[in-house]
């Protein structure tokens, strides 16, 4: 009895967008024709006829589009609230927000035609109300958009006159649109910070912040019963962070020497032919998605390390930090090498010539003159690579461990911040358990740490560029 309703909402939504678009085109054509007629009657227009059309097009389209998007984004929350309020008294009294959410989810399921078992009658009634509200909302949306378009269409048509500065009007709207586009980056940052901080705040309401920051145990097992909340799980992030550092150190041990020596060779010794082949090949290494590296670590590197452990008698754990770390390192080789290559190339030729003219070999030139001159830039690049290693997710999710163990032994199995975020949030998530919210607290720490490193690195790199520009 319900699925048709979804169809109604869907076709109404499509209709609303189509209506808006058609109205905008109509506005364009109407104003264009009006302007042309004015021209035909000998009037000298301030702006070209096309601008009159464009003005109307934008005046109709932009507000309508904003209303539509906001409507679609917000209607869910409004309808939920209305349905909740209409529930018979006593059904939600004394329930915590999580349980209420569950009820809403069940009502939505029923409305979607997926009925499990035999729900109470009041839930079925609520589902019917939900469906009705959705239909009303969709219809109302079309009406609002239609009326708005018509009004704007008429208003913009009335503006057509020889003195109307349609070009300025159009350009002002376009300018506004472009400013909005520029601010999307800011909204994204705000969104990231807001979501992380809000959820972390809620997390600290359940688990004290000092337990999180200084606790040495990380055991986020889901409590089985509601009254166990925060009684069982331990949320000290120190072992997780130490694990992240262990893997980062392993990765850097691979990536920094290999990357730097590759860069030195490519910059100083390689023939142009070799360079032309080698650089794109290294770039391939940078373009491989991390999930592929993760599979590579599981398929090839981890078994090889295990076999080596058996052969040599070293106590290498089955998902040792070495596997995930070294593969992360391989991923970062091209990053470091191309950064170092660029930085070495940016050292002025005069310095290189100066050293060579004194009789230094190429090797001495690069080690004693170019490299020291490039050090700030290279350090900045390495810091950026460190921030990438810390934020790297898929390789560690697939190849590192899940159990947080406070150790700095790279042969052992460790877990990382990103691994914990993903494992805590994979599968169904309820936004009221410390387990889910802990992931956001970890995310906030990850964001703060990587942002700090990035800002520092970019500052160093910029300083370096200023010296030689």
């Amino acid at each position: 009895m319900f699925p048709q309703a979804a169809d109604w909402v869907r076709s109404m939504t499509t209709f609303a967008f189509a209506l808006l678009f058609l109205a905008s085109v109509a506005g364009y054509l109407l104003n264009l024709r009006a302007a042309r007629q004015l021209q035909g009657s000998g009037a000298r227009l301030h702006s070209l006829a096309g601008f009159h059309g464009g003005f109307s097009f934008l005046v109709v389209l932009v507000p309508g589009f904003i209303v539509l998007i906001l409507w679609l984004l917000l209607q869910g929350a409004v309808i939920n609230a209305l349905v909740l309020r209409s529930l018979p008294p006593g059904t939600t009294d004394g329930l915590d927000p999580g349980a209420v959410q569950l009820i809403v989810a069940e009502i939505r399921q029923i409305a979607g035609g997926r009925i499990f078992g035999t729900p109470e009658q009041w839930k079925i009634d609520a589902a019917a109300r939900l469906t009705a509200l959705r239909d009303t909302s969709a219809t109302l949306m079309v009406v609002v958009v239609g009326v708005m378009s018509a009004v704007l269409l008429i208003l913009s048509r009335m503006r057509v006159s020889p003195d109307f500065r349609a070009r300025q009007g159009t350009e002002a709207i376009v300018n506004g649109l472009m400013i909005f586009c520029s601010t999307v980056a800011i909204f994204t940052t705000i969104g990231i910070i807001a979501s992380l901080v809000v959820e972390t705040w809620r997390f600290f309401g359940m688990v004290p912040w000092y337990d999180f920051l200084f606790g040495l145990r990380w055991e986020p097992q889901m409590p089985i019963r509601a009254d166990q909340i925060a009684a069982v799980g331990a949320f000290g992030w120190v072992p997780v962070f130490v694990g992240t550092l262990v893997i980062t150190v392993v990765a850097m041990t691979v990536a920094v020497p290999v990357g730097l020596f590759s860069a030195i060779y490519l910059n100083e010794f390689a023939s142009p032919r070799f360079r032309a082949v080698a650089k794109p090949l290294l770039e391939i290494l940078a373009g491989v998605p991390t999930v592929v590296y993760g599979f590579f670590a599981v398929l090839v590197i981890a078994p090889a390390l295990r076999d080596f452990g058996v052969w040599s008698g070293l106590p290498i754990a089955s998902n040792t930090a070495l596997a995930a770390g070294s593969v992360t390192g391989v991923m970062l080789i091209p990053f470091i090498s191309s950064f170092a290559d660029d930085t070495l190339s940016a050292v002025p030729r005069a310095l290189r010539d100066g050293a060579l003219a004194l009789g230094a070999t190429r090797g001495e030139t690069v080690i004693t003159v170019l490299f020291p001159a490039a050090i700030p830039g290279i350090v900045g690049g390495i810091l950026l690579a460190v921030s990438r290693a810390i934020g790297e997710t898929m390789i560690v999710v697939m190849a590192a461990g899940l159990i947080a163990k406070l150790t700095i032994n790279p042969l052992d199995s460790v877990t990382t911040v990103t691994v914990q975020i993903v494992t805590l949030l994979i599968g169904d998530t309820a936004f009221d358990s410390p387990k889910t919210l802990a992931a956001f607290a970890l995310g906030l720490m990850l964001f703060v740490v990587t942002l700090g490193i990035n800002v520092l690195a970019l500052r160093i790199v910029r300083k370096y560029r200023e010296i030689y520009d």
């Binding site: 350009e171 979501s195 060779y265 090949l281 999930v291 592929v292 942002l451 990035n454």
Partner: protein
């Protein structure tokens, strides 16, 4: 050079021909050679890793290019047909009986083992045939169905016969039955078209990438539709119109920092804002595309600004000189000239988005869905998350399929990057 000591009049005369200097130069040359060798070894190491990566993927992936099929004759036994609801007939028993009859030396007790040779799909194929043609009751038809995963591996020689029987997934007698079927010419190994035409399945022999490919397509489409106009708009504004003030600086710093935010943080953003606060559907490619768009935006903005910057000022001045407004200059002259660079940057950004996994995992695009999504709002997986799911699956047959899926993903990436390079080379202008 006997007079070298007389004419060399630095602070201290030096005999450049002396044995001491000669030995030192040889030492210096040797150390330079060592540096060169270390550099070459470093590059060699990187290439070796790339080679091992590719070889291991291809070596395991090509196994998934074919799929063992078994041809058997099955009888629609009227005794086992459910008259009232033919779809609920006992197809398992019919298959079992037919197999026992056709495998030499097999008895009724072996029926269960024999049934294991065939994929689960066999019964559904039988059912569908019957529903399509009810007159099949009582008749015998030839079915060509996929073999189940262990037998597929057996047929490809991936099961070590030396392993003790109790540790092997196929026992000695089962190997013998399969051998008997093969001897009758009933076992074939055609191209594995399922890999591209089917969606996910719990059974490796039935699993395919269609759902993941569709999901990735919808996600990338959403990503493109959002990030391309917004990115270009932002870049044009920042490069051409924005006043040089604190606000513009702030936006710029913001964009640069966003480019370096770990991908998993974008996943958290999507989960908290899009799913939890706005109540958008979970696992939907549309939401995945929105998250990817936010991640791709900095790439597109940075590339577009570089392309705009490369257009020489003389063109702007020329257009301004004939009385065009600043917007007309930008949209009529500068942007068209910068388009190849913008497109190149966009394609590279989309290629990066195609490989993103972590943010999609967090918004639930690792759902187990056995059908391709019909719209961008239906639950789906994407190519990289499908790879993650398969890599995590215990069935051995998924190992080769994971590699094959990776090869498909890498194929798309090569295509996209190739297109970007082609565009760059074809339209690159030197001013």
């Amino acid at each position: 050079m006997a007079d070298a000591t007389q004419t060399g009049i630095g602070p201290r005369p030096v005999d450049w021909t002396s044995e001491e200097i000669g030995a030192r130069v040889r030492r210096r040359k040797a150390s330079e050679m060592r540096l060169k060798m270390v550099g070459l070894a470093a590059i060699g190491f990187a290439f070796l890793m790339l080679a091992i990566l590719m070889v291991s993927l291809i070596a395991t992936g090509w196994q998934a290019m074919t799929q063992t099929h078994v041809r058997i004759d099955v009888t629609y036994d009227p005794a086992l047909i459910n008259e009232a609801n033919p779809a609920r007939s006992n197809f398992r028993q019919m298959l079992q009986n037919s197999l026992v009859a056709q495998v030499p030396g097999a008895t009724a007790e072996d029926g269960r083992a024999l049934l294991g040779i065939l994929s689960n799909a066999a019964q559904f194929t039988m059912r569908d045939r019957l529903l399509a043609d009810p007159s099949l009751v009582g008749r015998t038809v030839t079915l060509n169905v996929p073999a189940s995963d262990p037998y597929d591996l057996l047929n490809k020689g991936l099961i070590d016969h030396e392993t003790p029987e109790e540790l092997r997934r196929v026992k000695d007698n089962e190997i013998a039955f399969f051998g008997a079927l093969a001897a009758q010419g009933r076992v074939t190994k055609p191209l594995n078209t399922t890999l591209l035409t089917s969606a996910d399945s719990r059974f490796p022999e039935l699993a395919g990438l269609r759902g993941a490919l569709t999901g990735s397509f919808y996600a990338l489409l959403t990503c493109f539709l959002l990030s391309f106009p917004i990115g270009i708009g932002a870049a044009i504004y920042l490069e051409e119109f924005a006043p040089k003030n604190k606000a513009s600086d702030f936006i710029e710093v913001n964009i640069n920092n966003l480019a370096a935010v770990p991908s998993v943080v974008f996943g958290l953003l999507g989960l908290a804002v899009f799913l939890n606060w706005l109540g958008l559907p979970r696992s939907a490619p549309f939401v995945g595309g929105m998250v990817l768009a936010l991640m791709t935006l900095p790439t597109i903005i940075i590339a577009t600004r570089a392309a705009l910057k490369a257009v020489p000022a003389s063109i702007r001045e020329a257009a301004l000189g004939v009385g065009a407004s600043r917007q007309q200059v930008v949209f009529h002259h500068v942007v068209p000239l910068a388009m190849p660079g913008i497109l190149t940057g966009t394609i590279i950004g989309l290629a990066q988005a195609l490989g993103q996994t972590a943010p999609l995992l967090l918004i639930g695009m690792n759902a187990f869905v056995t059908a391709a999504p019909a719209t961008p709002f239906d639950p789906a997986t994407a190519l990289p998350t499908q790879i993650f799911i398969w890599a995590d699956s215990p069935e051995r047959g998924f190992v080769s399929r994971t590699s094959a899926a990776i090869l498909v993903l890498l194929g798309f990436l090569v295509l996209m990057n190739g297109l970007a390079i082609f565009l760059r080379n074809k339209f690159e202008r030197k001013w």
